[in-house]
């Protein structure tokens, strides 16, 4: 019998290998679409139902009635409420490329490896007994077939463990997929899920209709059994429902199949009703089988083995064999996935960091890391299964082990506050999560795990507490004695865990990476599209557009995209996401958010990939640069203010120039029209005038002549000024003595007015340097100044003194008369165009000094009015040698 059994087992295992192998092949050939179907996903979730639940549920029901159903109700509620938590977990898992629950916690709290290690250790401690439990269930079930000790329990367990390790290594670590998805394993598990459900349902159907005779008799049998009355402990009922639901989310193997192996968020839609259905079917026949076992089998039979012993005792060997295979499936699938999940955690959070640190200064070859990861995973799988075996071996497979299931649940559930807080609360941080986990884990160890081992605590310790401190009694913390030990431990560990987590997060401050990750994970829906809803390139562009709009602003983003559409010669407003465009966009975004962030964002949007560690590190570096950057910004803003001020003053100048130009035109108009008026008027008089005296006629003609001369002079001056102001003047540089120049100028003035009264004194030093400059232009200035003195000097005996001296490389020539001079208020604008002093009517247009000023400026000198003299005093200062500007 045993040989047959082992043969069937081997055949079954070989067929599983074949299924897994075939699935891997199909997946590699890209024909794996149906492998990723929602049903396969749902079935893979069934690893929740382990060997312990397969056999143990009936035992549980036989001992305490309906309470067993909470183990299935909790996960059902979680699945039914998938919109709350699972949807977000799955989305985060894909967006952040999460590889395990330890990775989730570590990622969320700033890629904290400390937290990763903590969760990994917690998971190993929580899972090892559970693996031992599976080994036990297999050996126990073997024992149900053969009462003789032909095969020792330990040997059987060792063989089973070795087989499972081989399977896990072959299919779990064959390749290294970025998404940590294992098609072969998932497929094998799906097959096993179907097998175990069918096995249990087959036994159930056999019991209900074959043994008890239908549904009606079953109900009456239940009423007649020892579990007929509903007398569950309310606390336990609620606590166990919560615990199983929480464990469903937190168990490493469940996280693996729920989140990591999830290929499409849409699979949750199916699983959300299909998996509760699976669980319901798994539990549907538990009570009937238990009741039938209690009724038919001899008193003292192990209720945990009713599933096997019932068909055996009724000589249904084939059915018993099927049930055995079902139980075997349950146990093996759990061990495979659990060891795989734990191995991932161990290699990613413990081995890799150590290896990277150790090989920091070594040259890493291509593929080196990959090899190390695979090797470390294989060893981790062996290590974990071995650990489970050792645990089984040491504990002796006694009854103590049976209770370990819920204890193990309570242990892994300590991750729940950090996980839920992490995905829903941005304020959660690493300090809080670490503290909460440590507190919860310690309380769990103290109040539940150690007592569950049997004789760790002395009776006195349990009754009076450590050192007699009553409120530290392991099973009555703070004097709470009325709770069931499991509920007690769960209550204290979870509440203090959550409280510590909360308080720790509130009082400490997260690092930049933590905050970034927190935002990425809590707001995961804002920046990670659903996979199926975002097919096609247009949708990708749209995603980019939304992101660009958020960062660059709607207008600018639209302009950018529009330009690209035109560039690509397309239509609409979304361009194709070509590599060129992506680079352009990344540059644009980098200007706003920094290069690393921009790269990460584009990567996430386009590739559906998440922010990598390198990206995050770069972000952190950018955060460090913020100080410098803000300094630069301040500098820029100061510069901007300066520029704005300059612009404003430039604008004022322009306005002034425009006003001046208007005034100038108005002046020119006036100066031209005035002589024209006289000319026109007298010309008409002469034309019409028959009765004019000869004297009048000649007088009027001379007025016309004078005004014409005035007009001509005005036009000359204007032209001269215009040429000077525009810098178009051609200077005629020559060398000559100042004395000669002044003599010539005086002579010119006298030539124009032979009757000149004014006396001119010239005091030019004999040794004064000759000037090298435009002598004609300079002479023009002198003539102007002399004739001004002649015109305006109102002294009784007008006198002009001209003196010159050298000052450095300049020659200074002063013109001082003995008149009343120019009033102080007028001195500022005598060099302006059309400036006239007082009410003098001299026939000049007031351009003379303006022209002088322009000429002297051209010659590189300066003309100023000298105050402090009694009369009008002008000073001309020009360089001895003219230098072209």
């Amino acid at each position: 019998m045993l040989n047959v059994l082992i043969g069937v087992c081997l055949a079954y295992v070989i067929s599983l290998f074949a299924v897994a192998f075939w699935a891997e092949r199909a997946s590699m050939r890209g024909r794996a679409n149906w492998l990723r179907s929602p049903m396969i996903y749902t079935l893979s979730l069934s690893i929740y139902c382990t060997g312990w639940t397969f056999y143990g549920a009936v035992g549980y029901a036989a001992r305490s009635g309906l309470e067993f159903v909470t183990i299935y109700l909790g996960p059902s509620l979680v699945m039914l409420g998938w919109w709350w938590i699972l949807r977000k977990l799955v989305r985060i898992g894909r967006a952040q490329r999460i590889t395990s629950i330890a990775d989730l916690i570590s990622s969320r709290f700033g890629k904290s490896n400390g937290l990763g290690v903590l969760v990994t250790i917690l998971a190993i401690v929580g899972t090892t007994p559970y693996i031992a439990l599976q080994l036990q269930s297999v050996t126990l079930s073997l024992g149900a077939f053969e009462n003789s000790d032909t095969l020792s329990d330990n040997t059987a367990a060792l063989w089973v463990g070795a087989g499972l390790a081989l399977f896990s290594i072959v299919f779990g670590t064959r390749n290294l997929d970025v998404n940590e998805r294992h098609h072969g394993v998932v497929m094998a598990i799906a097959v096993e899920a179907v097998v175990k459900l069918c096995a249990l349902v087959a036994v159930g159907v056999f019991v209900v209709w074959g043994v008890l005779g239908g549904i009606g008799p079953v109900l009456s049998e239940i009423d007649a059994s020892k579990v007929a009355t509903w007398d569950v402990n309310g606390n336990r009922w609620i606590a166990l429902t919560f615990l199983s639901g929480a464990a469903f989310l937190c168990l490493p193997r469940m996280f693996q199949v729920l989140v990591v192996e999830n290929a499409d968020e849409g699979h949750l839609h199916t699983a959300s009703w299909a998996f509760p259905t699976y669980l319901m079917l798994m539990s549907l026949f538990v009570i009937p089988i238990a009741v039938a076992g209690l009724k038919i089998l001899p008193i003292g039979s192990n209720p945990d083995l009713f599933v096997l012993s019932l068909p055996l005792s009724l000589e249904q060997d084939a059915l018993a064999m099927f049930a055995f295979i079902g139980g075997f499936s349950s146990a093996t699938s759990m061990v495979i996935v659990a060891s795989l999940a734990l191995a991932t955690m161990v290699s990613n959070h413990i081995v890799m960091p150590i290896w990277i640190k150790w090989s920091e200064h070594r040259v890493r070859e291509f593929g080196d890391v990959r090899r190390i990861i695979l090797i470390s995973r294989r060893f981790a799988i062996l290590f974990i299964i071995l650990l489970g075996y050792i645990y089984y071996w040491i504990s002796g497979g006694g009854a103590a082990l049976a209770a370990i299931g819920l204890v193990s649940f309570a242990g892994v559930t300590q991750v729940l506050p950090a996980m839920l807080g992490g995905i829903f609360w941005r304020g959660a941080n690493r300090i809080g999560a670490t503290a909460g986990l440590l507190v919860g884990f310690s309380i769990w160890l103290y109040t539940l795990f150690l007592p569950s081992l049997g004789n760790v605590y002395s009776a006195a310790f349990l009754a009076e507490g450590p050192w007699g401190i009553w409120w530290l009694r392991p099973q009555a913390l703070f004097g709470v004695t009325e709770l069931d030990p499991l509920v007690h431990a769960l209550f204290w560990s979870m509440s203090l865990n959550a409280l510590t987590f909360l308080v720790g997060s509130l009082i400490s401050f997260p690092t930049p990476i933590e905050r970034l990750q927190g935002a990425q994970i809590v707001n995961v829906y804002d920046h990670s599209p659903t996979q199926r809803g975002w097919s096609g390139r247009a949708a990708q562009s749209e995603d980019l557009m939304i992101m660009a709009q958020r960062i660059l602003g709607v207008k600018q983003a639209r302009a950018l995209f529009q330009a690209e559409v035109q560039n690509q010669g397309g239509q609409g407003y979304l361009p194709d996401p070509t590599p060129e465009f992506l680079r352009t966009l990344e540059r644009e975004l980098a200007g706003s958010v920094g290069a690393a962030t921009a790269h990460a964002m584009i990567g996430q949007t386009v590739g559906g990939t998440s922010v990598s560690v390198q990206d995050l590190m770069a972000v952190a570096d950018e955060a460090a640069q913020i100080m410098e950057y803000s300094n630069r910004l301040e500098e820029q803003s100061r510069e901007l203010t300066r520029t704005a001020q300059e612009l404003q003053s430039a604008n004022e100048k322009l306005t002034q120039i425009s006003i001046q130009k208007d005034a100038f035109l108005s002046q020119v108009s006036h100066e031209l029209r005035t002589p024209m008026t006289s000319i026109l008027s007298f010309a008409q008089i002469l034309r019409d005038g028959a009765s004019l005296k000869g004297q009048e006629q000649s007088r009027y003609a001379s007025i016309i002549h004078d005004e014409s001369v005035r007009l001509t002079r005005l036009l000359d001056d204007l032209l001269d000024l215009s040429v000077l102001e525009n810098g178009q003047v051609n200077l005629n540089i020559a060398t000559g003595r100042v004395q000669d120049l002044i003599d010539r100028s005086i002579a010119t003035v006298i030539a124009g007015d032979a009757a000149m009264q004014m006396q001119i004194d010239c005091k030019i030093p004999v040794d004064l340097h000759s000037l090298t400059t435009d002598l004609d232009r300079l002479g023009q200035v002198f003539i102007n100044l002399i004739s001004n003195a002649k015109k305006y000097c109102d002294a009784a005996s007008p006198k002009l003194q001209i003196s010159a001296h050298q000052s450095g490389s300049d020659v200074i020539i002063d013109f001082v008369d003995n008149g009343i001079g120019i009033p102080a208020q007028d001195r500022d604008f005598i060099f302006e165009k059309f400036a006239r002093v007082g009410e003098q009517k001299t026939g000049g247009a007031g351009l003379g000094l303006a022209i002088c000023k322009e000429i002297i400026a051209r010659l590189g000198g300066e003309i100023t009015y000298l105050s402090g003299h009694r009369g009008a005093a002008f000073r001309v200062q020009v360089p001895v040698n003219f230098h072209a500007a």
Binding site: L66, L77, V232, P276, T530, G533, E542, I546
Partner: protein
């Protein structure tokens, strides 16, 4: 390239329906917790409650919850593109 903007009047009611389905889905597990805890309050007068009755009730609740979830999830499945903020924003704009 597919046209990105779709007729708004056509989208909105479906969007609305899908959102109400999500509300229903959110309430479902709470209703489940309440119903599962209900047998704890049965038989206060000292009469013992039969396990078989509780079992039938629980499995009944279970099936009803699964059916409700199946119906609502199926509705959402058709409208899922509009349920994420990132997706719905593009249809608003």
């Amino acid at each position: 390239m597919k046209p990105v903007t779709e007729p708004k009047l056509f989208v909105e009611p479906r969007n609305y329906r899908a959102r109400r389905m999500v509300d229903g889905l959110r309430v479902l597990p709470m209703a489940g917790v309440f119903l599962i805890a209900m047998p704890l309050f049965w038989g206060g007068s000292g009469d013992s409650v039969k396990s078989s009755a509780v079992m039938l009730f629980l499995f009944g609740v279970w099936i009803v919850l699964i059916l409700l979830n199946f119906l609502m999830t199926r509705r959402i499945g058709k409208e899922r593109d509009w349920l994420d903020p990132i997706n719905s924003e593009t249809s608003v704009d």
